[in-house]
Amino acid sequence: MGDDMKNEATGEKQRKVGVYICYCGGNISDHVYVEKVRESVEKMPLVSVARTNMFMCSDPGQEMIMEDLKSGAVDRVVVASCAPSLHQTTFRNAVKRAGFNPYIYEHANIREHVSWVHNGDSATEKAARLVSAAVAKANLLEPLEPIRVDAIAHAAVIGGGMAGMKAATDLADKGVKVTIIEKSPFLGGNVAKLDRLAPSNTKAADLLTSLATNVLANPLITVHSCSTVQSYEGYVGNFKLGIKKCPPDTGTDKDGCSRNVTSGMKTGAYIPFAGVLPDAPPSSEENITIDAGVIILATGFKPYTPRNGEYGYSDYPEVITLPELIQLMATGKNSGDRLVVNGREIRSMAMIHCVGSRHIPGIHTEDEAGNLNEYCSRTCCAATLNAANNIKEAHPGTSIYEFYRDIRTYGRGQEELYSRASKNKVVFIRFEADAGPEVTSKEAPGDYPLLVRAKDTLTFGEEVAVPVDLVVLATGMEPAAISDLVTMMKLPVGADRFLQEVHPKLRPVELPKAGIYLAGTCQAPMDTGEVSNAAGAAAAKAASLLGKGHVDLDPFVASVDADKCKGTGECVKACLVEGALGMADYETEDGEKKQIARVEPAMCTGCGACVAVCPDNAIDISGWTLEQYEAMVDWIVADIK
């Protein structure tokens, strides 16, 4: 790195800043007079070189920068081009390849912030101001080192359903030790409550048996059933989870998962409509601490429970949900011409779609907590059609009427289910959201217990009435009851109340907090194939992070000037991240003992809240210091020509 040069007049350090301005092939130069910007910044005393290029990110552009660094012509670099999210890393790497610290680099965005939003002379002027501000900052940049933290080669997976088991086996295949934390006594989650899965008609039991067998046979995987997360602390590479293992309650929990363990249940075997028992449930309470480098959230969903009176649910025993029907059919098989449910022959049945999904404000009513489920649950159309086909193909004498708003058979093999349903003579009746079907026992003809009425848009808005023996509600998915985890781990939650990823397209299984990943329906409604995709992606992300044994974090975090710090503790009070900033003993060179602020770099997010409150200017953000900001502001408001 070049030697510090002192300005003879002021005695201040003088850097040699190189400025590289990009045309972006017209994207910038169509509205910004690039050569004028170059001429303007070239006049700044700090600037030793100012160059332009049609595409600065091209190899010749990058080499130009590297040559100037190597020849000693510059020791600080400013590139003025597109948004830093696109090419900042490109240019930092070029600086690094030239043998310099990548943090002597500053970026000016003159495309998104200038040429794409302004034109005329003012565009050129704004570009010049932004570039000169970047030069002023670059002059004050110091080399920084990334924060390196060791990563514990162990993954904690919260949830032992499809997603959790799939993520755990994928990680173990990569040689990573995994601990699954499952709140119920069983592995298998909500999938264990199903029979045949759409669209392939695969048996849920087969999927779960094969996954659970792999999980239980793998020495790298530990399963804690009947366990909940009680405490959480740490940061990427070094998380600590406090787990409480309790003897199970009996009955069904708030997410509808079975907790009944009977003495006849065999460990490792699949128990229909419960799951796989990994081991005997604990007989006494036990507290465990788990250290993990990464955490995968696989907390699943909660099946929607229809409200009292919703489409006659809980008013009439003949109204049941689709999961209830699936269980009744699996446990009470019969081979007659007509389906038999609870001992009753079903001559005709209605299946109502979108129950608990696709709510519209002003049409549907909120639950007690004021929530509407405005999203589509995505799995119910295919599940309903699959059930209808299975019924019609085994019991052609049962007539099926599907009341729907839209059929959303979006995935491979799903549209075929719809075509098959038509072949199987299933009748579709389409209702509008504000005129949903009405289920009533009044006016039901003959000995039919119920009549389902709806304005059918396929019959030109006429009211259609179907006498039925059974009504099945295609219930959707709701976010699982994990508010304790959300609060404890400060997890981001979307407007739909499911956990929210950093970016829906580019970073779909990551959370803003490094080292925590999303797998499966804790994020959004998904079918089992999609769950495996998501869990596999989360496992791959986690394995690649753990594979290096350490994590390099950006160095843009708070740092304390021990000489200036008087230990007022104002910064600790202002800090937004628990554990990022605290007070510690400090001994000066003269042997004086005092309390000063101490930063935990891996926890600090670099927000700057501490900098704003320090009365002694003793704390600063590396790479974004107050001094650097002041220099930038000076140049933004300076008279430039």
Binding site: R347, S348, S399, Y401, S419, S422, K423, K425, V427, F428, R430, P445, R453, L458, T459, F460, E462, E463, V464, A465, V466, P467
Partner: protein, 100 residues
Amino acid sequence: MLLVKPDFAEELAAHGSDTAMECFNCGTCAAICPLIYEHFPRRMLRYIQLGAKEKILEEPAELWRCLHCGLCTQTCPRGADPGEVILGLKRYVTANWRKS
């Protein structure tokens, strides 16, 4: 109110047409029909799906306006064969006209 009768499609099969249940109500047949408006022939297929035989018997004249040009059958994306279904309905109406 239109009370659905599940068995009508089977009753109609005896008159030579059993493809109406294949229809997914896209309306292509009604759009292509050169002679008759008012959602014909889809409306007739829909009545069959719901078993609304009284609706068919109420307005049989429309059935006889169909000249069996075959355009609906040619363009049907589901193979529901509307032309043949209309022919079957003509037989059904002939057999059941003013019976009650």
